[in-house]
Amino acid sequence: MIELVLAVPALSLLISLVTDVVYMSYVQLAASIFVFIAVIQSVMGLKSDKIFLGGYFFLDHLNAVILFTVSLLELFIAFYSFGYIRTEIKHGLSKRKFKFYYFWKNLFVLSMMVSILANNLGIFWIGIEGTTLATALLVSFNRTKEAYEATWKYVMMCSVGIALGLFAIVILYFTTSSAYGQSIKALSFLEIVKIGGSLDRNFVLLSFILALTGFGTKVGLAPMHNWLPDAHSQAPSPISALLSGVLLNTALLGILRFYQIAVSSGISYARYFFIGFGFLTIVVSAVSIFSQKDYKRLFAYSSMENMGLITLGFGTGGVAVLGSILQILFHALNKGAIFLSSGNVLAVTHERKIKKLKNLSGIMPVTAFMLLLGTIGITGTPPFSMFLSELFIMIGLFSFNPVFAFVVLFFLVLVFAGLLSKILSMYGNAQDEKKHAMESSLHPFLIYIPAALILVSVALLFYIPNPLLVLIKSAVAELGGGIA
C-alpha cells in the first residue's frame, strides 16, 4: 500500500504531460484522494518501522506524521487548485500558462514523498534537491522580473545549502563506511542509527553541523532564510501553501535524521545548535515582520517564525518535542488556510502590497475574515489548534530555562503584533464602498477550502483522533521526548 504513495504521484505526473489542464484537475483530485487514503491505510496502526522497495525507503512514526501532514494538505490543495485554475482562467490567464502546472506540482509532491520516505540519505538528498528544481519553475510562474529573480535566489541559495547537505552526507558516509564498507548500507539511516555508538563523534558532529546549515537553508532558518520570503511571495498561492506548510518540514526531517544519528552516537550537545538556530530564526522573523510591505512575504516570515519555534522545540526536548510535532501538523493546516485565502485576494485584486489594499472586508468579506482568523490562529491563539502545540513547546521551554522561554515569548508577541497590525490595516472599514461582486467571481472551492482548513484547525484543538495521537506519541518517543 505504501508504495502507492510514491507510485500515484509519479503516474499522475506522466498523465499530466499528455492531458489538458482542465481534465488533469479531475485526475489530480482522484490522485490526491487516493494518496491520502493510501497514507491513512499505511500510517494508521503502524507498529514498527516498515522497510520497503528494497530497503531504500522506510516508514517510521516520525516520517509517518510528516507524510500524513503532506498528504492531508495536498488533498486540500488539490481541491483548491481545481478552483484556482478555473478562476485564473476565468480572470483571463491563458490556459497555456497552466500547461505544466500539474506536472511540476506532481513532481514536487513526488520528490517530497521520496525524501520523506527515504531510508537512504543519498536518496533523501536527491528528493530534496528535486523539490527545489520542481518548484523553481512554479516560483517563476508569474514570469515577471521579480518572479525570475526570486527563482534565481531560491534555486541558488537552496542549491548551495543542499550542496552543504551533500557534504554532510559525504562525511557521514566516510565514517559509516568504516563500519559497513563501501555499500549502500552505509548510507541507510536505519543501519547508521543501529551502530551510532561506534561512530567517530567528531565526524558525526561535523556532518550534523553541515546538515544543519545546509538543510537549514531549505528549512528557512535564519540567517539562511533570504530565499524564503521571495519564493513564497512569488509562487502561486497553492504552491506557497505547500512550500510553507510541508516542504520546510520535509527539509527539517532531514536535519532531524542527522540529529537522531548524532544523538545515537552520543552527542548530547547537538540540541543546543537547534536551540540557537531556532531562537535566531524567531528573533529575525519577529523583527523583520514589522517592515514588510507585501502580505505574502509577511506570511513567509510567519512560516519562518514557526519553523524556528519547531526547531527550538526539538532542541529543548521533553514535552516540547510533542509540541513541535503537533506544530508541524497544525502549522501546515493553518498556514495553508492563510496562503489559500491570500491567494483569493491575489486572484481578485492582483495586488501584493499591503498599503494598496485598504478595504478587503468590503471587497471580499468572507476571504478577509478567513485571512484574519488564520492570522490569529497562526499565532497560537485558541480556539485554533496551534495553541495546543505552542503551549507544549512553551512548557518544554520553561522547564528548559524560564528566562529564555520568556524572551522567546516576547518575540512571539512581536510576531503577533506585527502580523495583526499588518492584516488589520488591510481589513477595511465599514464606511468604504462595498463591492461584494468581487468575491462571487471566485470558484466556490476557493472559499470552501480555506474555510475547511480553518475548521479542521479548530476541530483539532478539541478532538485529535486516537490513531493520530498514538502515531504522534510514538513519533515523540522516537525522538526521545517525554510526554506529559
Binding site: G130, V155, V160, F167, V170, L206
Partner: protein
C-alpha cells in the same frame, strides 16, 4: 599513482584560484570544464588505486556531465545573453586571489585539526577539497554576474565530489548518478532563468 592523483587534485585547486583571478566568463566556463576533467582523472586514479568498479562508472559520468554537457549548456546560454566579463566586482582581482590563498591556508589548519585518523589520501585532499569549496563560496559571494555565481556553485560541487570520491572511495553509484542528474537539472533551470532575467535586466537586484 598517488602522486599523480595528488597532482590532479592540486590542479583542481589551481583552476579554482585561477577562476578567482579572472573576470572573464568564457574563460571561467572553460576553467570549470578543465577542473571537472581533473576531477574525472582524479577519480580514475582513485579507481585504479582502490580498484572499485563503481568509480570507473563515476569517472565516465563526470566526463559526460561535468566536462561536456554542463559547459555546453553554459556556453549556449552565454551566447544568447552576450555577457563577456564581470564588470562590477565586490572584491578586486588581486584581493580575490590573495583571499583564495588565505582560504587555502585556513582549510589546511582546519584539516590538520580535524583529521587525526589516517586517511588514504591524507589530509592534503581534505585541505584541497575544503579550499576549493571555500573559494567556490567566495566566488558566489563576491561575483555579481549570474554566470560567475553558477560557476562558483559548480566549483563547490566539484569540491564535494572530490571529497566524496577520495576519502570514501566513492559514494554509492545510485547516489552519485542522482546527484549529477540533479546538478544538470539545476544548471538547466538556472540557464533558463538567466535568459529570462536577461530579458528584463542583467543584474540580480532582488527587492520587492
Amino acid at each position: 599513482m598517488v602522486r599523480l592523483a595528488e597532482l590532479f587534485s592540486v590542479l583542481i585547486l589551481i583552476s579554482a584560484v585561477l577562476n578567482a583571478g579572472s573576470p572573464f566568463i568564457k574563460f571561467g566556463i572553460k576553467l570549470y570544464s578543465f577542473q571537472s576533467l581533473m576531477l574525472a582523472l582524479y577519480t580514475l586514479m582513485v579507481a585504479l588505486y582502490s580498484n572499485t568498479s563503481a568509480l570507473y562508472l563515476s569517472f565516465l559520468f563526470i566526463i559526460l556531465f561535468k566536462v561536456v554537457i554542463i559547459p555546453y549548456f553554459l556556453f549556449n546560454t552565454l551566447k544568447r545573453v552576450e555577457i563577456k566579463r564581470e564588470i562590477d566586482l565586490a572584491l578586486g582581482i588581486p584581493e580575490s586571489v590573495l583571499f583564495a590563498g588565505s582560504l587555502t591556508l585556513l582549510s589546511n589548519i582546519i584539516a590538520e585539526r580535524v583529521i587525526k585518523t589516517t586517511v588514504t589520501f591524507g589530509s592534503l585532499i581534505f585541505t584541497i577539497s575544503l579550499a576549493t569549496f571555500l573559494i567556490g563560496a567566495m566566488l558566489m559571494i563576491t561575483r555579481k554576474t549570474l554566470f560567475s555565481q553558477i560557476i562558483g556553485f559548480l566549483t563547490i560541487d566539484n569540491a564535494i565530489f572530490l571529497a566524496g570520491n577520495s576519502f570514501t572511495h566513492g559514494m554509492p553509484l545510485l547516489v552519485e548518478f542522482g546527484v549529477l542528474f540533479d546538478l544538470l537539472a539545476a544548471v538547466l533551470i538556472l540557464s533558463l532563468i538567466i535568459i529570462h532575467i536577461k530579458k528584463s535586466s542583467l543584474k540580480t537586484g532582488l527587492r520587492s
